[in-house]
């Protein structure tokens, strides 16, 4: 009922085309994450769905009905802005109630909805405060609460966590995951450039690059079967190693990709030999940067801690099943 479809959607600002031929079909209740590098058009796409920008070409449908010319307020959407966009002169309660008053709801209805949302997000004690009296995380929750009170069919988030510190990010991310479980029928679209958020929250991820869709798929699809070198490099942390030259040519490709976690240290003889240039110890993992002979710089992920020191020589072997091959245009090569 509240599926979202984009059919050949494009968007230009003046002469600049920002989005081109976007075709997407999101099911009701799905949690879809848009990721991509800065400036690739994630926010613009979200704003097209919200109705904050006009669609230049193509069609947008929500719940099967064309939405191109429908006012934002009538689309059944709610949006959480990166900057929260709370009304600074209104209390938390008024912030959450302002839109509902517009919807001609009765006073008791409004109060019930606000209190429901406030309870869900544990901001009940903050209802009388002004936004400036709240911490960043609390403001974020108020912004989400305000969106919930609208009882939307489609929930839009534009980088909602990017203004929070690392610890709060993790907490709020878990809360959004929980919220998602409580609102199983609501379609959620979430913009981020943090791929951990994308991988952990998404049912499906849409990777955008330069205004076009690079790939759509489940997080594991994207991780295991990237449709391009760009996606392979964008998904996964630390980044996939891309090796060109003889190693790649041996497989008949222009570029060989192997993730750091798919290279194992094999002290008793391995395929590659190299000198360690740097080790990064994170506690749970260690990233070993190696200058591999005849191959180039390679990053290896080792579980736990290791005593490998910079300057030492090690031997390693890539997992043959996890090798990705790309042609000169960055398209995958069949093995």
């Amino acid at each position: 009922m509240a599926s979202v479809e984009l059919i050949n959607v494009s968007k230009s600002f003046g002469k600049v085309e920002v989005l081109r031929d976007i075709n997407l079909s999101l099911e009701q209740g799905e949690f879809v994450v848009f990721v991509g590098p800065s400036g690739c058009g994630k926010s613009t796409l979200l704003r097209l769905i919200a109705g904050l920008e006009d669609i230049t070409g193509g069609e947008l449908r929500i719940g099967g009905a064309p939405m191109n010319d429908v006012l934002p307020a009538k689309r059944g959407i709610a949006m959480v802005f990166q900057s929260y966009a709370l009304y600074p002169h209104m209390s938390v309660f008024e912030n959450m109630a302002f839109g509902l008053e517009q919807a001609k709801l009765s006073r008791s209805d409004i109060e019930r909805r606000v209190h429901e949302a406030a309870t869900m997000l544990q901001i009940e004690p903050l209802l009388d405060r002004k936004p400036r009296q709240l911490s960043g995380g609390q403001r974020q929750r108020v912004a989400i609460g305000r969106a919930i009170t609208r009882d939307p069919r489609v929930f839009l988030f534009d980088e909602p966590l990017s203004n929070l510190d690392a610890a709060l990010r993790v907490d709020t991310r878990l809360e959004i995951a929980a919220l998602r479980k409580r609102l199983p029928d609501t379609t959620m679209i979430y913009v981020t450039h943090d791929q951990v958020e994308a991988m952990t929250l998404a049912d499906r991820i849409v990777v955008l690059n330069g205004g076009i869709v690079e790939q759509v798929g489940t997080p594991m699809d994207l991780y295991e079967r990237p449709a391009s070198q760009f996606v392979a490099g964008f998904i996964g942390s630390p980044r996939m190693n891309f090796l060109s030259g003889p190693v790649a040519e041996a497989h008949g490709a222009a570029c060989l990709g192997i993730r750091p976690e798919h290279i194992v240290l094999t002290p008793e003889g391995g395929d590659w030999t190299g000198r360690v240039t740097l080790t990064e110890r994170l506690g749970s993992d260690t990233f070993v940067h190696v200058e591999a002979e005849g191959i180039g710089p390679v990053n290896i992920r080792v579980e736990g801690r290791t005593d490998i020191a910079a300057g030492s020589t090690i031997r390693m072997t890539p997992d043959p099943a996890s090798i990705h091959l790309f042609d000169a245009a960055g398209r995958p090569v069949a093995r």
């Binding site: 919200a50 109705g51 904050l52 006012l71 934002p72 307020a73 009538k74 959407i77 709610a78 949006m79 802005f81 900057s83 929260y84 966009a85 709370l86 009304y87 600074p88 002169h89 302002f98 839109g99 517009q102 919807a103 305000r146 609208r150």
Partner: protein, 315 residues
């Protein structure tokens, strides 16, 4: 213990440098503001005249109010507080200030809202709007005096052609229209200033909340009333106080455009007349002192009544 004493030494240092930085301004303020004001107040309690300022003698509150007994059981009050002409000029000034500031705020708000929109040539329009404010007051008063001239003025010519009036009006000389003439010139001249102050306030309003309001389906008028207006109200109030302070001292336009008219004699004009034209320096000083008190009273009342946030507690 050493912690706190070090901290207090630090804050003592900060206090000292704060005073050091403030000192030049305090000295200047004392020389150009406090000293002349004190002198004026002093003269208002003396019998000073223009040529005998040095011999001025203390006469108490005679310039303000004095009861003269004529000996036969009758008598009369004299002094500024019993002077109908003075009270007329107070009324003229206050009426002028209220009407002009009200219109300037209204027009300024409308212009600021327009200038805050995106359109081609906005920078040029913003600069052009400032022109009336940039013209020296005397020049614009003379200019308007010519436009309002009863025989040769363009205003009468236009109104006659449009059929709005049947015969030429002596805008600046007639008691019925003199105040309107002064108001028109002042509003024309000062609206840009208001517009600019309010525009500065408008530009402080974050844009994202307008998008939130659009998603909520709040119509433009309600967004203006419930979001924009409350957020720019502090800026508007400050602008009103600035303007009111200025308007209550109005001198040049009234003096140049409509000389010697009871209908537009303001407190400042009244004080000047007595100080220099009538050689009643002490009496004029008393008028200046009362002018100061009236302005102070009105401003303080306004600030208290609007609970204006002068200390920035709300930002």
């Amino acid at each position: 213990m050493p912690e706190t004493s070090r901290k207090s030494r630090l804050s003592r240092n900060r206090t000292r440098s704060a005073w050091l930085f403030l000192a030049p301004m305090l000295v200047t303020l004392f020389i150009v503001a406090a000293w002349p004001l004190g002198r004026t107040i002093w003269f208002s309690f003396t019998d000073a005249s223009l040529d005998l300022m040095a011999d001025a003698k203390w006469v108490g509150i005679r310039n303000y109010l004095e009861y003269v007994d004529w000996g036969d059981g009758e008598g009369q009050y004299y002094g500024l507080l019993a002077d109908a002409r003075w009270w007329r000029s107070v009324w003229n000034t206050v009426r002028f200030a209220v009407i002009s500031v009200a219109f300037e705020t209204l027009f300024g708000l409308v212009i600021a809202l327009v200038l805050n929109q995106q359109f081609r040539g906005r920078g040029l329009v913003r600069a052009a709007v400032l022109v009336p404010w940039a013209i020296p007051t005397i020049v614009s008063a003379k200019m308007w005096a010519w436009m309002m001239h009863d025989q040769f003025g363009i205003l009468n010519d236009m109104f006659l052609r449009l059929g709005l009036i049947s015969h030429p009006v002596a805008w600046t000389a007639s008691p019925d229209t003199a105040m309107i003439a002064v108001l028109i010139v002042d509003i024309w001249k000062t609206t840009p200033f208001m517009a600019l102050l309010i525009l500065a306030g408008l530009q402080m309003v974050p844009q994202d909340i307008y998008e939130a309001a659009r998603l909520d389906g709040v119509p433009a008028w309600r967004t203006f009333r419930k979001v924009t207006l409350p957020l720019i109200m502090p800026a508007i109030l400050v602008a009103i106080v600035f303007r009111a302070l200025d308007a209550l001292r109005i001198f040049d336009i009234a003096y140049v455009l409509t000389p010697n008219t009871d209908a537009t004699r303001t407190m400042s004009v009244y004080a000047r007349e007595n100080l220099f034209d009538y050689d009643q320096f002490a009496y004029g000083s008393a008028a200046s002192t009362l002018l100061f008190l009236v302005i102070a009273l009105i401003t303080i009342t306004f600030i208290l009544a609007t609970r204006m946030d002068l200390e920035g507690r709300n930002t």
